[in-house]
Symmetry: D2
Subunit: 407 residues, 4 copies
């Protein structure tokens, strides 16, 4: 359905050619200072038309907050919001409508509902993500103010152009190799990048890849796809800093399980990995385990972070990082040999220009979904922790079962 979250819950509506797209955000803590600009900033970052690398439409996407706020402060009640669609006319019929677009949602929506929006993919439209980004921006504001949590995503590859392996989590060879190759731990450079990268730095580059040389090569790759009336995918890496230890529910709602759910719900995603990811399947346990060390703040930390901030499905206080893979966009400008809805083979003619690479625009969407997951898990854990704190101390437990006092 169109609802995400348990205690912090977002519900969205809207497709391409209806009156508006919008969302209801329920469960926002009361007393948070919130203005339209807090939401608008991220909405504008996801907007098309920001550079010559993306589609030239200018959708404006001004958010209208409807409820849940008075005098610039949240009331704790649901926040309704909407963004009007510029083009509200149902799509006109054309010869191309005889064809389900390959690898798009036209065919599956028709199978699911028995009918489909004139625009084809209905809720699979990229405009659907507006509600997510708005909700995420609200969650982020809280997380920043109450916990100092920071979420930063950046493009780590476009096609085969990758960040240098020295500042990347992933060098899974997928190569067939019987020998024990020396496998270096995550580099200090990569951990530093995770610890320090900011949205401002990311936004300096039209690709949102915060490495000048790689970004230049990505630009060329995207322009090459554009010139070929083709498209190209990529990956986005995201770090979440300052998340308290203890978030995530055992068994089915592990932190990374909810994170994966959230991320794979973003259109065009095909792959997700947290921490060492696929690379971690190749590194022996003795090298992959993260040794504990005493941190300056008196808590335990780990000297390496292959775990990606999550152990046993629960956050451990280290930086959480993950990588998300986007397939090359299905909508391309060149003609394609395929079949009509009725099975007749034919050629779907070339259409107008399209966004050859959506990965840079996906960055704020990923940040938003990450914020929604952290926010929801934080509220659930707050309930438990707060409830447990009111019980009288138990004095009969063996020392192995309780939190030891620091020496």
């Amino acid at each position: 359905m169109s609802t995400f979250g348990t205690l912090f819950r977002v519900t969205t509506y809207g497709e391409s050619h209806c009156a508006s797209v919008g969302a209801i955000i329920d469960g926002c803590p009361p007393g948070l200072e919130l203005a339209a600009k807090d939401v608008q900033t991220q909405l504008s970052r996801r907007r098309p038309g920001q550079s010559n690398l993306t589609t030239p439409r200018d959708e404006k996407d001004l958010v209208h907050l409807q409820s849940g706020i008075e005098h610039g402060v949240t009331l704790g009640t649901p926040i309704g919001l909407l963004v009007k669609n510029e083009d509200q006319r149902p799509h006109d019929y054309s010869e191309t409508d005889l064809y389900p677009r390959p690898s798009h949602a036209d065919y599956t929506y028709l199978q699911k509902y028995g009918l489909k929006a004139s625009s084809g993919g209905g809720r699979s439209s990229a405009r659907e993500t507006i509600g997510r980004v708005a909700a995420g921006a609200i969650a982020e504001k809280y997380l920043k103010q109450a916990h100092g949590i920071e979420i930063v995503a950046f493009v780590s590859s476009v096609g085969k152009i990758h960040l240098p392996s020295t500042i990347s989590s992933t060098a899974a060879t997928n190569a067939d190799d019987d020998n024990d190759e020396i496998e270096d731990s995550l580099t200090p450079e990569f951990r530093t990048l995770l610890a320090t990268v900011t949205r401002e730095e990311v936004d300096k580059f039209p690709t949102r890849c915060p490495h000048a040389e790689t970004s230049e090569r990505m630009i060329k790759r995207i322009i090459r796809a554009k010139d070929a009336m083709d498209s190209i995918g990529g990956t986005v890496t995201c770090v979440i800093r300052n998340v308290p230890a203890g978030l995530g529910e055992p068994v089915f709602d592990k932190f990374e399980a909810k994170l994966a759910h959230a991320m794979l719900s973003i259109p065009a995603t095909k792959a997700f990995e947290v921490g060492s990811g696929f690379r971690g399947t190749e590194v022996p346990g003795s090298k992959h385990n993260d040794p504990f060390v005493l941190r300056e703040d008196g808590n335990l930390g780990t000297s390496t972070n292959w775990s990606g901030g999550v152990q046993g499905g629960i956050t451990n206080g280290e930086d959480i990082y993950f990588r998300l893979g986007f397939k090359s966009p299905a909508t391309i400008s060149q003609s394609q040999d395929t079949a009509q809805y009725d099975g007749t083979p034919g050629t779907l003619a070339a259409r107008g220009r399209h966004d050859p690479c959506v990965v840079p625009r996906a960055v704020p969407i990923i940040e938003a979904m990450a914020a929604l997951v952290v926010m929801d898990e934080l509220l659930i854990q707050s309930a438990r922790k707060s409830a447990a704190s009111l019980l009288p101390a138990v004095t009969t437990l063996p020392p192995t079962m309780i939190l030891p006092t620091r020496k």
Copy 2:
């Protein structure tokens, strides 16, 4: 929490040293013939001690069905079941309990709850998966009988030993390459493997990798880890056949999102990819798109299947396949330099022998979780489809919005 699913819902309990582990399965359709052996078969496949590649404990794991069945037929009411724990004594205190095991759940559980089970990781115990496997076996029985759905998982890599690329979905280079390399589509051999592989074939190999030569090399790799008192991870590929088109909910509960949620909830998983996965980020759209063709059954199919059976978050009727990455097990037999709970640096002494590679045993767990996802989505879509079928036909829609009649 410990519940998964909306209309087909499993709730589990139990940790290592309590009386039993168990589950309640709610929402099973009435009228399904079901006996303990239907469940036992898969439970036995996940059991340790099945070969010299796994840990030698023999847990038996006999399932006791409690309710919801009479005369060998499901009533539609909740099915309670349990498997007794052989060792029900709380863990004895030992010097090693001063240390949280690196990359295990000891530390995070303690942070989450303020206390922890004497066994350390509580619900992160592998015994927790028994309830999943039992529930999945029930779902599978229904799916097979009512829809002919087949789910088969197999090991596709151990450490750096991979299935040959000719029969694998993944050859993402992760290599930095500015040039447009020719990227072959999924091979016919791989599609044939997906279309035909059976559990019987998989179980012929102790590694559960259905390729004799690769399996032999994996065995050597696992033995090498064992001899080194170390551990090694791997990946499992899973195919789901004969799933009807139309499953999966738009936006937040896309089919692959729920699948990723289910899979990343399995202990030790770090990575998930569906269809072309990370490789799909590198292939241009013109090659990655799956052209439609008319299938023999009169429905549309696709001539390639980079999508992995899911488009726009909704199944399209093609084989669904995905790959899941397991990190190398955190529990190893060699000593480790780390810190105690109170921060004191030290060496966690070597313990007894442990399972050096859990990937073969993970196979039935993945099949179970896949079955739970398909079952739940199937019921949800059944509700919609059944409800829509009772409406009078709408005659005023433009032809682009409705399912065309086959010529």
Copy 3:
């Protein structure tokens, strides 16, 4: 939270002085013809200012559909809708704001959130019900078209003015009586009323009590309350006709449990009874049991209907009826002795005129909530029934366990 339902789900937002109130309706079957007027009709029925018995404000309450519909037909995707607030300025400060209004939500909202909307009760505002009514109207349209289901509510009492006992379900004496009094079954007149009453008949009376003489007396009672700057409560009876047998989930989500949940969520409600209700606690089982009879349609029915259409938490195909009690409105025009927020005793001065009796306006809200419950339970049961129908027939069950063939 602000969401109701599992497969047919409504989420609402909005309070008195924000920009708009609205809702997202998720799970509406595709292919339903739907226009704004379908929703507007019921919204207008809940609107204040419809007679001299209610508050004179005219809120207009025009609904704006945002999504989920094209060419007048539902797509199966979420339907967003909103109704603008005429007065969007936060409430001005006044001396009366020192006082929490007695029996209103001012105090409890402040306790819950630590702050409150300037209007006091925030989401307890009657305008919150607009979203419910809109959602219910959509559900009703489906229920009527697909199943011929009819839902009609009417006022059965105002203060101590009740419908004659001959056409009422309730004559629980609450009188202390040791003797076995003869307790007549529900009268044929009452069953006829339930079977035939229409909204058109109900709306002929400003009180929405479809009995001319009683309605006249109710009008006098309400005018008396108005003249006394006081308020008066009442009860509403509702019937749901043509609901298929088999709706409602065993144990926690019994049909009447969800119905009670839905009804007691309506502002100012204090009491709910289904079927014989409190009266059924006083009638011996031998008289209270509803004997089965063969109906003309070949199904079993019951010759009496003390059960109110629900047995064991599951609908039996008979008319479902229930009664809901509304306390006298807390907002009255006379001054009240009470305390300020800080505990200082004082007199809350009289304010402007208010609606002395809200029961007539509650009628469409009750119908809406009833529709939401039926719709959700119908979808859930559709999933089960559809799933079970695909299983091969079981031939080994004893005859007591299966549905007998009609002779």
Copy 4:
């Protein structure tokens, strides 16, 4: 489905003749001392065979805790528990099985599932309530220890034998009366009863009606029903003391809505009222409103309590009380004229002896369900309150929106 609750969640399984009935309780705070006897006490109170007023079977009902507890302390993980069924053989076929028992669940279960348990009503069996009572006992233990919350239910009527109106909330005349009758507020005696009644006092009476004279008359009434091979219903009143202000969620999950949901899910219930209930529909607002007063603890309280501890759907800190109506049991010992499953009219022969009045045994079930509601709402509110407390203070709000400082 068979799950209740969001953060404190109970899932149950089991019917009459299966191996066991049981439950999984998820979300119990860690660090609570808990032993089997904490659960057994309430289970024994719901057990049949406790006096000559109830059915003579002795079911024992010993609870077996399975998980979630070590060294007598909860771990925070799910608590599995079960109670074995003494009679595990499926019901034998008999001539009476041709008939669906009137007003029982035989017919509706068959309609719902297409088949039914041999015992007829499947999950509608009274044994289903064992899981609820066990879960409620665990919740109660926490509520008592952490908040001093007390929950006491007692029988307030059997048939037409009621507690004296001086110690009862309900004297709704349901009498038709145009005049303004003087309506006294809740009596001080009743408020004292609510404030002081204990389970020990209640259990002194076999009827569980804590008023000697009324109890005696109830006993006679029940014996009269027994002698007539008939049955009789009744009502139970329940009070919840020391619940903090602020529990309950606006709009759909108002405190009384969840309470009504929980209560109407108990078998044989037909009616629910909170606070003034149906009586409150007849009392003018000026008399019904509860004036605020400063309490000794420095918080606001109300001098009367028609609201029943809930205002605007949110608790206000006063005693919460409600009344629940149980119809006369459907299972009676005398023969009944009705129809067979196939519609053939006939007489369902008398069967063995049955419990003529279940109301006394319902007392612990009501207490359990009340505990589950309070516990769940408490956890949800804890999350919000804890989250809001971490925000920086907002200084720009008008004084009407914030909690005033006590003078």
